[in-house]
């Protein structure tokens, strides 16, 4: 622990000695910092990232404790904790793996919010380290062919599609619930109602019962917005990991692309030394990312595994409404695709770091030298992958083992026959408040 503190002190000193060379406009457009700004702006709406990123220069990112952004973030974290507490309180029956879903969802969202808050405090350091590495790749030697998508385009399109899918999933959920509500209204013959109030009261009964204020539409709106935020937190975890992986893979692809272009040329040992040192700097960046985000990688894998497990258990349940059935399958497929994509993109970092091996293997014997040997050993034997706090590294093998583990647990938990849920189970006319 003392050693870590000393390392942190060393980092801070490095920070002060950074030569704040300003980035030019074109250089800025190629950086990772510019590419993820849209994703961070969207997150700011929901209370993440209470930092000032209006400037184009990374050393001007500011995090202030006394600022309304920070206060909103902190209050969101507090609200999430309280919601988890209310859900636990409302859990009357014996806790088991299946009926603890609600409590776990809110607890995981709280942990995600706290982790991202901590990351915003370290964000300036992370981006400055990233730009320091990226500056080496901005030169002409590392230009990619024009037909390949730039980093900024890749990330923007990806973020856009992801947000469309996740928001549509949430709206679909709201639609299914409203449909159930209209059915209940018709069945229970409720007259004189306010749809919004009825809906909010039904959805968030466990929260509204515990807050000291009398219900009014403003509180209902706030509770709905909070619920939307929690779902956003849950999705944003995977998105951010994917964006980080795309950024790192992009740097590694530049190295392997340059090596492929220079394959036919007889190279000096100096060029190999330069390539090797560039690879080393990306490895150091991966190490920094692992230190900052190690816990988040672990959390994301656990989160996805658990929720896929729980959703798969409900496959055998037959639901009454067609809209519920469509929503269930859509959310299950979305969940599975999101998890698979996250692990694939994260394992791409590992794959791209190993690409230079193929080029090195083709080098003829008379060009073999010390630096090449060092480069080869470095790629083969050092771990250049995203890892969850060094407990596991994220590769394609992990996907297989996660799938294997999930299937095992499913087989064990699916010993009971599927149950049928009818609409009479879902609607209880006397329980409205």
């Amino acid at each position: 622990m003392w050693m870590q503190q000393q390392q942190n002190n060393l980092r801070e000193k490095d920070d002060e000695n950074f030569y704040y060379e300003e980035l030019s406009e074109e250089d800025y457009k190629q950086t990772f910092y510019c590419a993820i700004k849209p994703a961070i702006y969207v997150a700011k709406i929901f209370g993440f990232f209470p930092i000032n990123i209006s400037s184009k220069q990374v050393h001007e990112i500011k995090f202030k404790w006394i600022h309304f952004r920070t206060l909103i973030s902190l209050s969101l974290i507090v609200c999430c904790t309280m919601t988890a507490g209310f859900a636990l309180k409302a859990q009357t029956e014996q806790l088991s793996a299946a009926n603890i879903v609600g409590v776990l969802f809110f607890s995981i969202c709280t942990i995600i919010a706290i982790s991202f808050f901590r990351i915003s405090m370290r964000f300036r350091y992370l981006m400055m380290s990233w730009v320091k590495v990226e500056k080496k790749f901005l030169s002409e030697k590392y230009t990619m062919p024009a037909d390949k998508w730039k980093l900024r385009t890749k990330i923007s399109i990806f973020t856009f599609i992801f947000f469309c899918c996740s928001f549509s999933e949430h709206f679909f959920y709201l639609g299914a619930e409203i449909y159930k509500l209209t059915f209940e209204i018709r069945h229970c013959n409720i007259t004189d109602f306010d749809l919004f109030e009825l809906f909010t009261r039904k959805q968030h009964k466990f929260v509204l019962d515990n807050i000291p204020y009398e219900y009014n539409n403003v509180i209902g709106a706030i509770v709905e917005y909070l619920n939307f935020s929690y779902t956003f937190f849950w999705n944003y975890l995977d998105l951010f990991i994917m964006l980080l992986s795309i950024g790192l893979s992009d740097l590694l692809q530049k190295i392997s692309h340059r090596m492929e272009c220079l394959q036919t040329v007889r190279l000096d040992e100096n060029i190999w030394a330069e390539l090797r040192l560039d690879h080393v700097s990306v490895s150091e960046l991966i190490k920094i990312v692992n230190e900052e985000f190690g816990f988040i990688f672990m959390l994301a894998c656990l989160n996805d595994s658990y929720f896929i497990l729980i959703q798969m258990l409900n496959i055998t349940t037959s639901l009454p409404f067609i809209l519920s059935i469509i929503y269930f399958w859509y959310s299950l497929i979305y969940l599975v695709i999101r998890s698979v994509l996250m692990v694939s993109y994260a394992s791409d970092v590992y794959e791209n770091a190993r690409k230079p091996i193929e080029v090195i293997r083709m080098i003829p014997a008379d060009q073999w030298n010390n630096e090449l040997e060092r480069f080869f050993n470095q790629i083969k034997f050092h771990s250049n992958a995203l890892s969850g706090k060094k407990f596991f590294i994220i590769t394609k093998t992990l996907l297989f083992s996660m799938a294997g583990v999930l299937v095992t647990y499913e087989l064990v938990l699916l010993q009971v026959d599927g149950k049928t849920v009818t609409w009479q189970d879902l609607i209880d006319c006397d329980s409205r408040t």
Binding site: W2, E269, E371, E373, H382, K389, Y409
Partner: protein
């Protein structure tokens, strides 16, 4: 031979003078000792860091070695005719008797999962007492070898660095021993509370002893003295239970700090140019010595690591299974969850500290890849290959290596087994060994370790 009185008189006078001179020079040998600067100066060796912990353990009959607080490990002695050794033998024999009683009790009455905890607790503690006795025999040689290697490594310059390892060991021991004591006191409190409200037996002390140690009172008639004796041995066993884990942690801290010492020096020259070749030769040899030390310690401590890990695994599995049973009172539920959290926390601490040896041994790789072209030589290459290819870690009798990956696979195994066991879970019948639970209650009583 006749010695003249003159010579005797002169001799006595000389002796008195010498004594006076000595007294004048060093008054402190007459007065009770105050702490001097030497008492607070550390050498930075493992031997001095671990001295206090071993003395505490010897009060409970573990590792009866003489000379643990001496200045040099060559003063360590394992003597068979000493109070500590006899105490150790006495405790071992009594816990052996308790184990036999548990076995007899289980075979006589119906076999239940809850009763297995009694037996396993006593058996595991018996095994750890025996293994610590065995380790005590080898301890002097081990410490001399450790001291020799520590002195061979480049010495730390500042007191702050020297006392870091000792400080860490003392803090960890304090935390673990105190939480173990707190957990034991909580168990006794909950037990006393249940015994005070016992409907069948009026005397609360008798109820407490009868409920906690049914295996003893199956054969022997009840008496307060016997109950107190059983409680005393139970305290010894609880200490041994915590101490096994604590010992593995202390050994890991000691070994990992040696790697840290080398890593600190290597990181100071990271990225610099103009490093001599013999620097790499020197540090490669230091690294080799530490790896050899890890191997020696591993062989000596192997059985204890194995006992610690299997013990923890078994207890976590059993306790997780019993989390599904309904508990009689809120106090029982509270105690159960506290003890489960303590158990899981302690197991995680053991795994992570022992995995830190492997983590620290891989750190030099970062230094090697930053070595410049001019400084790259065959010595660095050799060092790089050795660090990359060797797995340096504590093993449990060479069955498995304690790394971070193992922690994950163990956690996965526990969850899998739990899911399987949950499927076959039925609430156990009324515990017929507890006289305080009336026949009408269907709840299962918590067993106190």
């Amino acid at each position: 031979m006749k010695v003249s009185k003159e010579i005797v008189r002169r001799y006595n006078h000389l002796r008195r003078n010498v004594r006076q001179i000595r007294d004048n020079v060093n008054v402190q040998s007459v007065l009770p000792a105050r702490g001097s600067r030497e008492d607070f100066m550390y050498e930075g060796t493992f031997f001095e860091a671990v001295g206090t912990i071993l003395v505490i353990a010897q009060l409970f009959g573990l590792m009866p070695v003489h000379g643990v607080k001496a200045k040099h490990p060559s003063k360590l002695r394992f003597r068979k005719c000493s109070l500590r050794f006899l105490l150790c033998i006495f405790y071992t024999i009594s816990i052996f008797i308790l184990t036999l009683l548990s076995l007899y009790w289980i075979s006589r009455t119906k076999l239940e999962f809850g009763k297995l905890v009694f037996f396993t607790f006593d058996f595991a503690n018996l095994m750890s007492l025996v293994c610590f006795l065995d380790l005590a025999r080898k301890w002097p040689k081990l410490m001399v070898e450790w001291y020799r290697i520590e002195k061979y490594l480049p010495q730390l310059k500042y007191q702050f660095d020297k006392q870091k390892m000792a400080y860490q060991i003392k803090m960890v021991s304090l935390i673990i021993l105190f939480s173990s004591m707190a957990e034991h006191l909580l168990a006794m409190t909950v037990g006393a509370h249940a015994a005070a409200n016992c409907p069948t037996i009026r005397d609360p002390i008798k109820a407490f002893y009868m409920a906690s140690y049914p295996q003893v009172f199956l054969i022997f008639p009840y008496s307060d003295a016997l109950g107190s004796l059983a409680k005393f041995f139970n305290i010894i066993a609880t200490f041994a239970w915590s101490y096994t884990d604590l010992f593995v942690i202390i050994i890991s801290i000691g070994l990992a700090s040696k790697f840290q010492q080398i890593n600190n020096d290597l990181f100071k020259i990271k990225g610099k140019v103009g490093i001599r070749t013999n620097f790499w030769t020197e540090y490669r040899i230091y690294y080799r010595e530490i790896v050899m030390l890890v191997g020696i310690v591993d062989t000596a401590v192997a059985k204890i690591i194995l006992i610690s890990i299997t013990n923890n695994l078994f207890f976590i599995c059993v306790q997780l299974l019993r989390s599904l049973d309904k508990k009689p009172t809120f106090a029982h539920t509270f105690y159960f969850w506290i003890s489960l959290i303590y158990l899981i926390g302690r197991t995680l601490a053991v795994s992570l500290y022992s995995a830190s040896i492997n983590d620290e041994s891989k750190k030099p790789l970062e230094v090697f890849r930053s070595v410049s072209r001019e400084d790259w030589c065959i010595e660095v290459k050799r060092f790089d290959e050795e660090v990359a290819n060797d797995t340096v870690a504590l093993t449990g009798m060479k069955f498995f290596k304690l790394t971070r990956k193992l922690v994950l696979s163990v956690a996965g195994t526990i969850v899998t087994y739990e899911l399987v066991l949950i499927q076959f879970h039925q609430d156990d019948n009324i515990s017929d060994w507890d006289p305080c639970l009336s026949k009408n209650e269907t709840a299962k009583k918590i067993v106190f370790g």
